[in-house]
Amino acid sequence: MDPRLSETETAFRDLVRREAFSIGVAADDIDQGVTTAASSIGRLATANILGICAPETHGGGGGGPVELALASEEVGAVSASVGIVAVGHMVSSFLLDILGTPTQRQKWLPAAVEGQTLLALVLDCGGSLLESPSCGVSGKKETDRLYLDGRARAVTGSTLADFLIVPVKVGDTLLLAVVDADRNGVTVGIEAGQLGLNGAGQAPVEFSGVQVPSGSTLSTGNVVETMKMADDLFRIGHAGLCVGIGRAALEASTAHVSGVNDELCREQSVQWMLADMATETEAARLLTWYAASRTSPGEMREAAPMARLLAADAAVRGSRSAVQIFGPAGNERGSGIERLYRDAKAMEIYHGAVEVQRLAVAGELLPRLAKDISPWQ
């Protein structure tokens, strides 16, 4: 057992942290709609972070869930909006890689790895990946051609995306359609003001009789199993973002009370909040790393929703405490503190709300006998 990051993992985390610094400078502008997340996403691509989990044969970094968790914590700590777009792109790339034919991989992956094209998964906002076929978009086959119809309420990254990855059920078959966002019949709406995760390109997407070209559906191998794995990656990435929010709240609060206002340091009410933030963030981080380092899909399926729900709890509680510690200054728009709180709240909802995660954990536990519930090696 060794609970520390390895040297390569540490080096990668430090690389992301350096890049994240400049994203952090733009975070409030992204939140307030002054600029979009696109240039930040571009930065991540240039630094080879966006493609870290993609295979090396297509220009990626060949990393896995651990790299996803590390990258998402760092980006989440500066901008959850940028982070959630990046995670969606990375998981989409994973789906392309596993479910695509060699031709399809060659066609889409290198551009996605380099950040020339941005991918967005068409899910309904609150639903998880596996529930997505019920998100409102349906597929219909007519004389061998697939047509998409329907409307997804809020698709993360859709206003920024070049390609939309749409999970649809055709009859009993689940498949993914890769749709050019400019294609006829696709209407991406306008991102409305939201409580949190502003600037993440969350807009409604409407499909009216969109014809999916042959060669643009992904269905190689076991689609359902791959979607389950992608769902777990999603959870790990989102857990990482939440850990990042919690850490940002803790670091800002610690710096505030240590530097600006030394008297606050001695207030037990403040000390209690700091201690709980540190403890809950650390617990969530360990659980995220643990989930990410599982080598069997079964273990990951149990641990990933655990990480996701604990991390969201830690982010909400931690950022709420941060606003409290900063007082009126933390309540000001543009302070960066209240944004953490709004983003954390939104993270409790998007792409598998915490309730869904809790049920997922219970669903893993209940079929087993109590004496077998500790698969601790």
């Binding site: 037990q268 000390q271 604990l310 601790w376």
Partner: protein
């Protein structure tokens, strides 16, 4: 993969760690868990079981091989404590105090003579250890001790009264902290090892407790208790440092105990919600209960990772103060929350002694209190954050 590398973050147990975990798990399932309820009701300290636990080497798990110990690392030790606590938290605390608060300081600060005399009997399973720090007026504020150790020639004479001594009445020797220099601020206290039954040291009271009822918690009176200088552990004035270091090391162990309690509560509850029927089917089908179960499992798993990490850091000589306090705080609060939810899901059955749940609920309560309350852990963490190196 990023590239070949010998060391990667991982949570795999070593063969030794798995072996001790499995050995304790089997023993607990056969001999401890089935009897825990009866011991609890009768406030019965099961000496016959402790004889066997001693033979298994559980009294001196952390002692060096040089003194016949298993030389088990702290991760393996904490795993053993979790297994014990799943069966019976009372049994667990007796073992935890002996190892963390008696053997570990002797191992670290003792002379070879002291180890021969006081540590080896633990390793050989002959006796349990006790730790006498708290007094009626000095708990979290350990520096406020009033027990005095007066120097008389080559001897020390101890006078005072020690409270909340786990294993007091059933130990072979105890580690006693007393004031040797009233004027000093930093080196006021020294540590002494006193064998049980030594003239002047007597057990005067046994506490009647809310939880961990089959463990012994006593008051120890020191009445002109004369001991030779050779029984002083470490340097004169080093007592408080020894006490705090021991407690630091014990925190991961108490976190492991709390995880054991939480795990047992979840396991019983899972069985219950599958079997108990209401409104036409098992109550486990209700989403409200499932959500609670999911959160319970997540918190238990996170607490386990926290104690494993804290134990690993200490074992490897890395700074562990923050990690140990986080583990203790999170795990003990988790055990209370989880056992509360377990009682709630059992309804009336969780409230009566026919089911193990009320005992787990009572046993969990002390984990946020002893070996550093949650409030002390929060203070430690906050200080580390605001003044520590990082």
């Amino acid at each position: 993969m990023i590239g070949p590398e010998s060391r990667k973050m991982n949570w795999k147990l070593t063969d030794d760690q798995q072996m001790v975990r499995d050995m304790v798990r089997e023993f607990v399932a056969a001999e401890v868990a089935p009897n825990a309820a009866e011991w609890d009701r009768g406030k019965y300290f099961p000496s016959e079981i402790f004889e066997k636990l001693g033979e298994l080497g559980l009294f001196g798990m952390v002692a060096d091989e040089e003194y016949g110990g298993a030389g088990l690392d702290l991760v393996g030790y904490c795993l053993a404590l979790e297994e014990l606590a799943r069966g019976d938290a009372s049994t667990c605390v007796a073992i935890s105090v002996t190892n963390s608060l008696f053997c570990a300081p002797l191992q670290r600060y003792g002379t070879s003579e002291q180890k021969e005399r006081f540590l080896c009997p633990c390793v050989n399973g002959e006796w349990l250890g006790a730790f006498c720090l708290s007094e009626s007026g000095a708990g979290s504020d350990a520096a406020a001790l009033s027990t005095i150790a007066r120097r008389e020639g080559d001897d020390f004479v101890l006078s005072g009264s020690k409270a909340w001594v786990t294993n007091g009445a059933v130990c072979g020797a105890m580690l006693v902290f007393a004031v040797t220099d009233e004027e000093s601020a930093r080196s006021r206290v020294s540590a002494f090892v006193i064998p049980a039954g030594h003239p002047g040291a007597s057990i005067v009271h046994e506490e009647d407790k809310l939880g961990i009822r089959s463990s012994r918690t006593n008051q120890v009176a020191l009445d002109d208790c004369r001991i030779p200088r050779e029984w002083m552990l470490g340097e004169e004035g080093q007592g408080l440092a020894i006490a705090l270091n021991s407690l630091d090391g014990g925190r991961a162990g108490i976190a492991a105990q709390a995880v054991g309690i939480g795990h047992a509560a979840l396991a019983f509850t899972l069985d219950y919600v599958r079997e108990r029927e209401a409104f036409g089917g098992p109550i486990g089908r209700f989403g409200g209960l499932q959500e609670k179960l999911g959160t319970m499992a997540a918190r238990i798993r996170a607490a386990r990772l926290l104690y494993l990490r804290a134990a690993w850091l200490r074992e490897n000589g890395e700074p562990d103060t923050m990690a140990a306090s986080c583990a203790k705080l999170f795990a003990s609060e988790m055990a209370n929350w989880v056992s509360y939810q377990a009682v709630q899901m059992h309804g009336a059955y969780g409230y009566v002694t026919d089911y193990p749940i009320e005992r787990l609920y009572r046993d969990a309560r002390v984990t946020t209190i002893y070996e550093g309350t949650s409030e002390i852990q929060r203070l430690v963490i906050a200080r580390q954050l605001t003044s520590g190196p990082g």
